[in-house]
Amino acid sequence: MSSTGENRSSNSTRDSKANISSSRLRKELMDLVMGRDKGISACPVDDTFFKWIATIDGPNDTVYENLKFKLSLKFTTQYPYVPPNIKFISPCYHPNIDSSGNICLDILKDKWTASYDVRSVLLSIQSLLGEPNLDDPLDPEAAANWKKSDFKKIMLMHHAKGEKKSTQ
């Protein structure tokens, strides 16, 4: 059965995991600040480094061009072994994003690996905006409208509605 030795080792595993998470998130912030990637930004909003706010610019030559989206990122002490929980705060009408801001992206689920970081994940979400996966939509209506010429108009209408809702 479980000996005291095992207990001690599982405790130290948990402690070292929390240390890895926060020291890695600190490094990632440094890289983001130094890197100055265009079109993405992220910063922690609390002193534990486990909650971040990020912004993504809509990619050029897509319907989302010139739009800015705000996202929330939540990490656990399991990071980077499990992916962060990422949601859109700003309304984003998109085939793979639902009205609550949940994102359907394989690297945030089963395709996650411990080498992904905030930067690579934000860049993936940014490219998802322009290249949705229409085979597995989270918002079937947006998926059905995607190919329509007035998708942008429909999208902006949804965003205006969403913004009104969030300010009430």
Binding site: S9, S12, T13, S16, K17, N19, I20, S22, S23, R24, R26, K27, E28, L29, M30, V33, S41, A42, C43, P44, V45, D47, I53, T55, K70, Q78, P80, Y81, V82, D110, T113, A114, S115, Y116, D117
Partner: protein, 209 residues
Amino acid sequence: MFDLSLSLIEGNLFLKYNHHHCCLDYHRFTITMPNTEPEEATRENRESNDGSFECNICLDTAKDAVVSMCGHLFCWPCLYQWLETKPQRQVCPVCKALISRDKVTPIYGRGSSRRDPRDTLPPRPPGQRTEPEPHPSTSFPGFGFGDGGFHMSFGIGAFPFGYFSSTIFNFSDNRPAPSPSNPDYLEDALLSKMFFFVAMILLFYLLVA
């Protein structure tokens, strides 16, 4: 609301201002706290600038390094944790090639082979000789430094000037030579820059209020 926050991360001070909870920008200042050992600080900087020997999971210099068949470097504890997390899908975190415990090669640098913690917490890969007792005194050099970071944040309405100036600006004059990658900020310039920002934000606040 306008809100200003400062974070000290590994000897770098970040000034961040938020407007309506949206992060607008960072400003980085390099300061040296009086209690940090200068040699260690520069070594840490140099190490973090050289990505060749950084673990692909913790992003730190690889400790108890192992290399996969696909050539990716990890700390053994970091990789072990990853393999434990996904026992049914053991892939290289970097290139997603198949990976397993018996297919990684430990790397022994000069003077580092005496201790092998793979013997203790994560069971080490087979094919190695029996190791002597691990030395508990051998800690990871230059690693605990990142834990010294702190973060403070305050609204503009309750600006704790006293605490701010006594804590943040309590660096002494015996500043060590900066590492070559960091621009040499003069302390005066830093102070005036800082207060310029604070003054700007106060001004902005007065205009808005």
